[in-house]
Symmetry: D3
Subunit: 268 residues, 6 copies
């Protein structure tokens, strides 16, 4: 395959990271050549209640990666901003205005193309930071498919933001209103994170406590109305604070660094 | 299909546009109900020479739409940030580090899903502002496919940034170095636009004049090296100015407003 | 569409259920006309340690449905016997001999076709009983896709075998070795169920206690060897008993009946 | 690719074949290592008149393989139980309740995945025994596709159950009512086979003689009603006997053994 | 959907059929408005021995349709000139130079698009004349798929060129060397037809008698060399005559007319 | 892979080119072995006004290739006769009777299969001559996809018929009515070419001057009626002459020869 001829080294004035989307191609080339890991944040465009913006799931994983970049050199690829269909008990469902989702087959294809593109660019240590529950299996499927034809690449999938933390530790970090990850949509953790990351995007006074009227432990399609939270909030959000968000952000970034150091050791 | 129960009207403090990604779902609902048109910017993640960032093709169409929003109420959907494969004579090609593209079949599926999602959200006047040459036919194909099953929606595709302008008018606006749209990649127009939109992302002193060594008027795959610009710049960029960028931005926004007023008249 | 002309009623000697695969077409027609719900068991062909057969995930959901049929009239469709790719931390992964899985896109297509076929046959109350963790999101996706073109059908997805049971209740039922559903693969619950359902398929003395050497809370692809259980067993299996299996089978069948009675009430 | 660490040899008490679905993974591993051929039965879920069960096309190819296993060591993979769409003149068509079929594209994908999975498990001599006319070309297509990327595997496709037998020999075996394979659906041969294999699934007294009202030698879509057998039986079934079924089963198993010995010689 | 405004009637000098590819759009419009049936010939680009051209399978179905047009008004759509993969025992297989085939999924998509296009153009009586054995099931699948969304269209599939003719009648027509349709590839019938249709494309003196070395009644993939005819001829071709070709062409055209008159009666 | 055994050399009386569809397989084999380049003409089945036939876009690229064959040995593959959907401003759009087009995904698959087939046949120098504007990007995409798995093949894409010619040169060749390639549909150039190539297919006296009522420089889907030429002619056709067609045909053939000599030099 023909390749571009080398260009002189990156200008002293050029932005060199960690956000790939702001970098020039020679800067990306140098980062890949240096063996840096690349983080691919994957989110959604999805309702997050009457107080959070549609891009909440995009802001958070990128912010985690940016914080991790304070502790270890890495590059952050452009966020995948459209995700899997929202399901009523984890994201409110597809009936909310503003939720724009991809079919499963589309999402798998997108992830295959981007992961393969990162490998072709020269990265062999690729970390996916997910922040949209419904994306989970498609990340794994796409990485598995790309892996069969790109044998030298390794993919690290971060789906649980703070693996290993006990409920007690999470309550200590976030307060007693934290209801667990399954109902953490537009609720305490996400609202706190957004207060820490982009407070100007959180509507003052609109962070409600809410929930789906009924969760029987199974799903029905089409979803009956009483399984859908009318506000889009799936648990308590009212006691969210920027401080709790900061603590969670630090913890998640710490997990990312630990995962990177474990799976992609610097001396490798 | 079950639908979320109505939530009270949007809080006075909420952001109401034009960027959908910063809006809450009730704000999006209200915009759709009011019959506002929605603009979908479509770009790429692609090399743009040693002086412009990878997200150049995303920044520009969004900036055009934001400027148009000064003149007519509209909503701007999240930018589609990954586009069709880069071709050597229009974008430098796929061999540059940092260029991350989608297969044609993937891109069509993404566009189908998002356009259909915008219709489902309640928008029936949908405008696509493209800024990546290679995306063109896929936008049309996707809109045509969605149109067959969403008969009430209308799609307006803006592919030429300033339709109707003569070469003389373009040279008056941009200066004599403008080489025409076919070679306008990381060159005078794009660099000037970026100097107007996000000057902090333009590397000082790196805006070169360059070109592919040879353009015979046909294409060969795999592309011979002499058909690829070694810097990724396809024409003259050195005389770019923020002022020229402002003029072009105004002109493109004016075209968008004119197209919207023509095809989606306010009184409709 | 042309339709077969009516045939006389089902012979007195014909098998009338609940297993559709043993029924003749007139018997299926009569069941659909009578408004019975149909259960679609979905499993896998996957390693289950040195003591359980590859079809473990097929036997269990069908046995649950057969037991539920003691309490409410229903029909059981043929089991979908090939499922999503096995993941190392939930099923041992794809490297075990005998594990035969489908790509995600294939599985979605299979489920779409079969769900649509059940609707075409005349069933409008369709319940999917899953027993292979990795299948979960594909069931939802397929039902969602079919739902858009078959508006009168309702799909009930049972993914958690005993929704609502607390850890304490599960330990009371299965004993203290139960390690939770995430590691319940070829372990206490599945082995006990197989001892209750088909003891002749459980290899005496081979039900081990084992686990993956290391579960860091994230996934790496290709999977490092130390994340894969060498036996294929993901937790303790040695204290499995047919009695515990019977209790769990009763509980799961009870849940199915409760879900059917809730979502598809007999008087509907 | 990471692989599971070896487990001790198969327990003396374990089931070692020929049905793979009842085997544990170490038993499958040992069979593959020993170089045994694997048979993949492929059938359908399809109406078979008022006297035969929907799974007739699954029972027969598996029974043939089981009988062949008396004469040569082999393994039988789980039956592919959903097949290509039923066509009116070979299976009654898609309008019969209970017929559940796959689109052509789905079926090809299923077969690709399973054939590739068998190769990955370690089998290189793979025999497909088909018993649903409409599946034929898809078996060949899938094997051809898998063959291009798995060069060491060989696929043997058995589509004609008793290749080489003359009409006279078939009449001697089955009696004068045998009408030839094209109309052999729920008729003399299939009914006799089911009487030999699973007599409890044949409804006494319901084995009719019937046929499509009209077969002009071409097909029309949608199919006119007079081209569809009202009972689903396509020829004479009333004189079926278990004895004829036994003879045909023996003959088909003999053909399978002959084909295996020819194409996959033991000394290979 | 917007439609072109009516143009004046077709010029007296315009070609009005039956070959659609030579017609202007107003002439096609008039034919569709008049309710004429349209014939879609489907062939292949495939080796046909050392004496016949690659487009043999395209020439023959078009010639049949042209001859039928002498007896009943009809239109002939452009021939589908690339078909399903050649199989060794029916067409020599994919290893011959010059054979250019489509994957099954591609062919189905092509046929779907063209059949749907004919319906959109205004034809509701569509007849497919096939002359490449391997295409058969895909024609049916595509017509079935298009039928579900185009309920008013009817599709007539002609796969057997002379349905209803006995072996005796075929031998009377073609001579004793006719070996039956299964081996009729580049043999007596096809060669005679080409001598009647386009004698200048038949290489004098090269019409051989040949066959595959061995046809065991099953297939092996990859195909062993001894199952492939070395010349590409699958049976006797040496005694072919233009006179026999004329007789067969007349018979096939007669069958087409009979099928059209039966399924699409003129008074309909 | 098994291959056919060699057949004796091509008979003296056999047609040896350049049209592959008329050749026998041994003749194609010899051409490939000799290293000849192969030309793949790609066109459409599309309305071309009231005076030109539907196959205009197929006739022209094949005629260019045949003329080029006078100057350099080459082979011409069968024309791809169905192309991408017609767009209103370049081909009149999909609403004209007789226009039969492929979805983008179908066309890409067709081109992939045929290009890969040409490589498998033995050609490594493959030139695509396009004559349907809308096909452009799909040719590039398909060649790019095939190139990744067929590394030794080179693809030359000719999309502009006479690259490098100035407007002045085009006017000198065709006369002042030539309106530029973007509106050259059923207009001066195409009509003149058809008068040179196949005058019997041009309806006398029907070559009109026409245009779309309105071209605002953007596209709307569904297309408003006033953007569609009522005749299907997009510019002036009335002054077309066979002499101008001859000149253009010579020029285009000369460009093809030049491109072949440049990219596939004879001494290679």
């Amino acid at each position: 395959m023909s390749v571009p001829r080398p260009t002189d080294s990156v200008a002293d004035t050029a932005y060199v990271g960690p956000l790939m989307e702001k970098m020039t191609w020679p800067a990306v080339r140098d980062a890949a050549t240096a063996g840096l890991p690349v983080i691919l944040p994957v989110g959604s465009t999805e309702q997050h209640g009457p107080h959070l913006p549609l891009k909440t799931d995009c802001e958070i994983p990128r912010a985690i990666a940016e914080r991790a970049a304070r502790h270890r050199p890495l590059i952050i690829a452009p966020t995948v901003g459209f995700g899997a269909k929202s399901r009523p008990l984890s994201g409110g469902g597809e009936t909310f205005p503003g939720t724009l989702s991809l079919r499963a087959t589309t999402l798998i294809a997108v992830l295959e193309d981007i992961l393969a593109g990162l490998v072709r660019t020269g990265f062999q240590r690729i970390c996916v930071q997910n922040w949209h529950y419904e994306n989970g299996p498609y990340l794994w499927e796409a990485a598995d498919l790309v892996s069969t034809t790109h044998e030298d690449a390794r993919f690290l999938i971060l789906d649980d933001p703070v693996p290993g933390l006990t409920d007690a530790e999470l309550h200590a970090m976030l307060g007693p209103d934290f209801g667990g990850w399954p109902v953490e949509h537009a609720a305490l953790a996400e609202t706190s994170l957004m207060l820490a990351i982009a407070p100007e995007l959180v509507v003052p006074g609109m962070a409600l406590d809410d929930r789906a009227g009924h969760n029987p432990g199974w799903e029905v399609i089409p979803t009956p109305t009483d399984r859908i939270s009318s506000s889009g909030v799936l648990w308590r959000a009212s006691r969210s604070t920027a401080e709790a968000g900061e603590r969670l952000l630090d913890a998640a970034a710490g997990c990312m660094v630990r995962a990177l150091n474990t799976e992609f050791p610097r001396s490798e």
